[in-house]
């Protein structure tokens, strides 16, 4: 049995805890403080919490302004409104002036479920990746979320953190440390490397077990820091296994898959397969049903790994 925990909950609690020590931390929200769990911070520090109402564009540009006064600004809402709705505010007022705004978005990806396509953000990583100065981190579980929030509070500059709506399996133990800009090797493998983010890390670990039963040695890397991405590690894995599978709860366009592909093609061309959502909008349904329909299961990852190996065999 896997122990499940809510990354959102962890975010809210850690933010509140950090707020006790660091009075420069402020939090902004757009009428979703209970869903994003910034309500926990709001309750403790009402004077440092600003609910901007249902007005995300104003929230983001105001976050930028607050940052110029030396505040460590956390701006939160659902991922779809935290990136797409406010792209230009982020571009012009946060990324370009390189301001200290930490965008912590919840409800990223297809696991949003019943709300449907309008609320399922599948292209946030793509939007944030193209912005210079932006740091992007997609934690894999509640423990990593804790470490990432602690790191990002001290990080100076624009950042984007994406958390899921659903609870997710706890993967890491208490001694886990997050290293910015570094991929985290969970297990080594000789035949193929699976690089995953967010909810797909747990599935990648299970896929590696599945593959092991078939006599395939698959390594698993948690690529939570999507930008800046760990180029050395990608190149190293390409050299070692010559076959890489990327896995993400994001559009196949512009996400982790293409970030890895870009490093590979420019440095160490190698076979790559992508587990990601095809170029379509999502739809209503239960989270797990959607993960299955859009090809994000353990079996999907294993199948892509086998395909990568077949292609590698043909190449050699």
């Amino acid at each position: 049995m896997k122990i499940m925990a809510s990354a959102r909950e962890v975010f809210g609690n850690v933010l509140m805890e950090l707020g006790r020590k660091d009075h420069s931390i402020v939090a902004l929200n757009a009428d979703l403080s209970s869903s994003t769990k910034t309500s926990i911070f709001a309750k403790e520090f009402p004077e440092r919490f600003f609910n901007m109402g249902i007005a995300e564009q104003n929230m983001m540009a105001a976050a930028a302004g607050l940052a110029t006064t030396g505040k460590k600004v956390f701006a939160s809402t659902f991922a779809v409104f935290a990136t797409g709705r406010v792209y230009d505010q982020i571009r012009q007022s946060i990324a370009y002036p390189r301001l200290n705004v930490k965008i912590v978005a919840t409800h990223g990806g297809i696991t949003v479920g019943g709300d449907g396509a309008s609320h399922q953000m599948l292209e946030d990583i793509a939007l944030m990746r193209v912005l210079p100065n932006m740091t992007i981190i997609i934690p894999a579980d509640a423990v990593e979320t804790d470490r990432v929030i602690r790191y990002i509070v001290e990080h100076e500059g624009p950042s984007y953190i994406r958390l899921p709506r659903t609870k997710s399996p706890v993967l890491f133990s208490d001694d886990y440390t997050f290293e910015p800009g570094k991929g985290h090797v969970i297990s080594e493998g000789d035949d193929v490397t699976i690089m995953a983010i967010g909810l797909l890390v747990d599935r990648a670990i299970d896929a590696a077990k599945l593959l092991k039963n078939k006599g395939i040695s698959a390594g698993v890397v948690n690529m939570s820091c999507v930008k800046p991405i760990d180029r050395e590690l990608i190149i190293e894995c390409a050299g070692k296994t010559g076959a890489i599978v990327t896995a993400e709860e994001h559009s196949i366009i512009g996400g982790l898959g293409e970030a890895v592909a870009s490093v590979l093609v420019q440095n160490a061309p190698c076979i790559q397969e992508m587990v990601a959502i095809p170029d379509v909008f999502g739809e209503s349904g239960e989270s797990e049903e959607l993960m299955t329909k859009y090809g994000l299961t353990v079996e999907d990852i294993a199948r892509k790994a086998e395909r990568a190996l077949e292609r590698k065999a043909v190449m050699c």
């Binding site: 901007m52 109402g53 249902i54 479920g113 709300d115 396509a117 609320h119 349904g285």
Partner: protein
Amino acid sequence: MSDIQKTYNEELNQTIKDLEEKARIIRQHVIEMIHEAGSGHPGGSLSAADILTALYFYIMRHDPKNLNWPERDRLVLSKGHAAPALYAALAESGYFPVEELITLRKLGSRLQGHPSMRHLPGIDMSTGSLGQGFSAAIGIALGGKLDRKDYYVYAILGDGEIEEGSIWEAAMSASHYNLDHLIAFLDRNRLQIDGRTEQVMSIAPVKEKWEAFGWNVIEINGHSIHEIIRAVDRAKTSEGRPNIIIAHTVKGKGVSFMEGSVHFHGKAPNDEQYQIAMRELRGKGVRP
């Protein structure tokens, strides 16, 4: 009172009674659908139920058998999370089978969590991201003017929704282009997700804001079918100005424990709550 006047009043009274019954059925559908789905937004669906009923079953010129009728009136549910109430009105109007309502939010359903015009007949605009449907309604009204059609465009806005800046960009453009065939309803239930509107982000004075943006403003009780009908009649006489009907409503209207409750903005009733809600809504036992 003349005989003609008397007959007219009697007929109107009967119509209003029928519409009130229809609204009760719409509300039952809403609760059934959301309970069955296990998620969704009952509060804002119930507060807009009377407005949608009056529109679809009395005011609007539309024909479920003729989806692309160019002269038809349009409706944009800008507060798209109230989709269950819209779906119930569409099904009861004959756009699709009533039995389909309980597929709400399920995989493969045409009834998406938020209205999608590419999934379901009768939806004039896909919505869900607050603030945008209203601008789309402006566009539909501009198109109608350009084509010299005299259809009306109705838009339903949430009072939290009007905190979006784009609402005011839209408001400005509607009066700039004299869109008098645009009739917006503001579902003034005084609640959003994080609490009361005036506590989260004060939007008052609402009436004066719209007036300042050049709109014809009418204030009514949004649960009075009669007042809704009269307000639209009045709006249709306005020349050169867009209209907004500020409908004072109660979030969760019709279900005692949902009324005025922020808790039921986006939460499905559990089994027990479902039973109580249906009992209250069935009242005299309209529907078996």
